[in-house]
Symmetry: C2
């Protein structure tokens, strides 16, 4: 298929669609087969791609084979391979066949379900699948459409969107009582472990940056937020004329997988009239397994809860974030619009959900198709097995770290994330030689270890700073990761560490 004569330009011809799509399926399947050949973290230098691609668009159409050759030659070397079994950085973006198939159907139908009428199945499947997810996580019925207490859920593109929308709902609910001029008196609360998205979202919705409280956590509470700390800050704020607006608690923090105590925090939020949001972006998926459900005790006090089936842990390709609300009406009050151009009988009769009023944008993808496909294709048994298998690998890695006296696990592992480091002054010989690393609590040697692993191209991990200590994060959950990969990566880490330690003491 070279450049086509104008009169034949049919960019959705089913036969061409079929032929070229099959070619891309084969291309992606081969990519997965060969993925271990590529450096996990791209070794490209900044600006590499502009040296390879023309700086103007092509005049004429190009055949798909040529384009795929260029993807292989020019794009793949610049990818950091999130689907590599040796990707342990950030949190995983665990793709799956079912997630991919769901994306294909979403993109193939390409419907825009902003209102019920604009594609009833898109809206209704989303409501059904949100109830399914809530049931799998054993959320209280108040968050379900079928719970008949007015709750319900929606699929967003990201946790940040979920936080922006719930913050806006909380803000408008508060300002309707105290007047819009008081927007500068509203305060948002989070811990020093809370994802920065809460701070960013709070800025986006117009809360003054100085009204964002970062409450410190410590090792004694496992880096969880304590009710006493929150209560004390809220009391102080009220005495200064501020209004507590929004408290975000996290189940499975980004840096180290810490868990805030929902029950105690929910009670404090109620006490002070603040919106209580639970961010379970990472660990929400674990609630499908009974052994992890206890971390969600107290979620019945939440106004809203979000979790990510996409980047994180539920085998759902990007993008897909679940948000449930106790009272969607509060969200809709803040975000709804009713332009003439979208008016229709079903919406006017108020007998349907119009998801455009549950989110930032008007347009929306048919994400429910994807999540529905993942749940059906793998079933609860498969999804539980997936979570447990990752946690099992993390336990295995934790054991390996603990068996090597040069290393330590820095914070308790709760899910599939292990935070470890080379111990500072591991050798206990207390000699006062010129080993600078003795004075920096292991900072430099762990940075060197991490850089060396990542530069090897054989694994990719990232870091965090916890209680002042630099730790290496080993986040397990990429779909292709198996025991053999964890073992090989541990040997790689040990080998590099050995070299670094020898160099330091030579």
């Amino acid at each position: 298929m070279g450049s086509l004569p104008l009169e034949l330009f049919q960019p959705l011809d089913p036969d061409v669609f079929s032929k070229e799509s099959h070619a891309v399926v084969d291309f992606i399947a081969d990519y997965y087969r060969e993925i271990e050949q590529y450096p996990v973290r791209s070794q490209a230098e900044p600006g590499y791609l502009s040296k390879l691609l023309p700086d103007t668009p092509p005049i004429f159409s190009e055949p798909i084979d040529t384009i795929l050759e260029d993807v292989k030659k020019d794009i793949i070397p610049g990818l950091t391979h999130w689907q590599s079994p040796n990707f342990y950085a950030y949190f995983q973006a665990n793709a799956s066949t079912a997630g991919f198939l769901g994306e294909m159907l979403c993109s193939g139908f390409n419907v825009v379900g902003f209102s019920w009428i604009s594609s009833p199945a898109a809206t209704e499947l989303e409501s059904i699948v949100m109830d399914w997810m809530a049931k799998m996580m054993k959320l209280p019925s108040m968050f379900l459409f079928s719970g008949a207490q007015g709750g319900g859920g929606v699929l967003h593109g990201s946790t940040c969107e979920a936080v922006v929308c719930t913050l806006a709902a909380a803000r408008d609910k508060a300002l309707s009582k105290i007047g819009h001029d008081s927007i500068t008196k509203l305060v948002v609360y989070a811990s020093d472990q809370t994802h920065f998205t809460v701070h960013k979202s709070s800025k986006i919705i117009g809360i003054p940056p100085c009204n964002f409280r970062v409450i410190p956590t410590t090792a004694s509470s496992g880096y969880g937020l304590t009710a006493d700390a929150v209560r004390s800050v809220m009391k102080e704020d009220i005495s200064q004329g501020f209004t507590p607006l929004y408290l975000c608690a996290t189940v499975g923090t980004t840096a180290i997988g810490a868990v805030d105590p929902l029950l105690e925090l929910g009670q404090v939020a109620k006490e002070f009239g603040a919106w209580f949001h639970v961010d379970a972006a990472y660990a929400g998926s674990s609630a499908v397994c009974p052994e992890f459900r206890r971390y969600f005790d107290g979620v019945e006090l939440a106004d809203s809860i979000s979790m990510n089936p996409h980047i994180k842990w539920f085998l759902t390709n990007m993008d897909c974030c679940c948000l449930w609300l106790r009272s969607p009406t509060e969200l809709v009050n803040s975000l709804s619009t009713n332009p003439e151009i979208l008016r229709n009988n079903a919406s006017d009769a108020r007998e349907v959900v119009d998801y455009k009023d549950w989110q930032i944008a008007l347009s929306r993808r048919f994400r429910a198709m994807k999540l529905w496909l993942v749940i059906r294709r793998y079933g609860m048994v498969g999804l539980m097995e997936h979570i447990r298998s990752d946690v099992g690998l993390a336990k295995h890695f934790e054991k390996l770290v603990k068996m090597d006296k040069r290393f330590e696990v820095v914070v308790p592992r709760r899910f599939s994330l292990v935070c470890f480091r080379l111990k500072p002054r591991f050798d206990d010989d207390d000699d006062d030689d010129d080993d600078d690393d003795d004075d920096d609590d292991g900072l430099k040697i762990n940075i060197r270890l991490l850089d060396a692993v990542n530069s090897s191209g054989r694994a990719f991990m990232t870091h965090a700073i916890v209680g002042g200590r630099f730790v290496i994060r080993f986040a397990i959950g990429t779909t292709l990761t198996e025991m053999q990969h964890v073992d090989a990566t541990w040997k790689l880490i040990q080998g590099i560490a050995k070299g670094l330690l020898l160099a330091d003491h030579s």
Copy 2:
């Protein structure tokens, strides 16, 4: 593939991936082949799907064939078919093979390019393709990365996101001078034709709803905003102690495709120090054709400009919105975060773009892959042909309407949207019989006409109210639409109109 024994749970096995993906490609190709058999607007009743699907998720995995059968049996009847050639509602969401292939690669790689290092190719391809798009639209070099004046572009998921982000940037720039307490003094300006997303976004970022000015337009300016009207409202606001923050001009409004005069409006915005945003969501694509480029004269005065290659007009499957900024630094100042967990050498050295600071969310899809594929597969020639072909069909439809004296084209057609209606009192016999429609300026009969067309399942159109008149919008642009479909739909409209008129006068 039934339920699998636990030890074999491999949800990204390349062979299974390949087999099941091929099956879904065939399923979608058949869907396109059969699409004209389905009612364009779903005929489902509210709640239809919960009667068909179980209310709990499956325990065990289900085979893909069963799931696809259910998609056909349960989901497709609930879809409003945006890819049907007889879809003329809202604006088109024009899918294409290349757009679909791009989505497949995006979903298959499933990389998360929030920072450059997290997938250099995702960031760099996006910067390159944004420059390509800008060059195709002949935007001034100040909006290009290669323009060396500090500009650049980013892909968002929706216009609303682009507006929220630019509003936040404008707000923070203004408040950095006058203090955060003045947030209640900031005013946003738009016309009565501006997309409601600007009002919604303005609320989201904390501007009091009463500080949103809706400036009326009239037929005499083709429903475009006039500089005099804006100047007068801004002057009045300043005299009341308010600060003009943000003016949104539109090229191709949603209701009727009107065009605001960018040059004059840009000058007023500069005069009053307001951020000037150009929303070219719909008609931005037309700028690739020289004959439409004049509508963008004055864009050099804009602080930001957005357009949608996705729902609208550039053959790019959902989602994809282009946003260019004269000074991305202002956006980044408002939206940037620098958490320890994402720190890396490339970002610390400030030698790369980190797109997380150009958008609301942290996570982001590899949308550039899709847009790059569309541009390469079809080339500038193909894309221009696509725009011209749609405009040609709209001209043809316009001619058909004008040839039938019972109908009228209500506002001048500029692009591929025709706004028409059955004339009120078309028969000129001035009899004072009991025809109620004589008194409502054609409202009831046009509502009945629209309802009847949509209920027939043979086409789907929507409406707008312009200058108090109810008009039917005929938006051409679905990829599969050909002359034969436009002709058949016109005959359908004529036939239904004939019946209605006969009934009215019997």
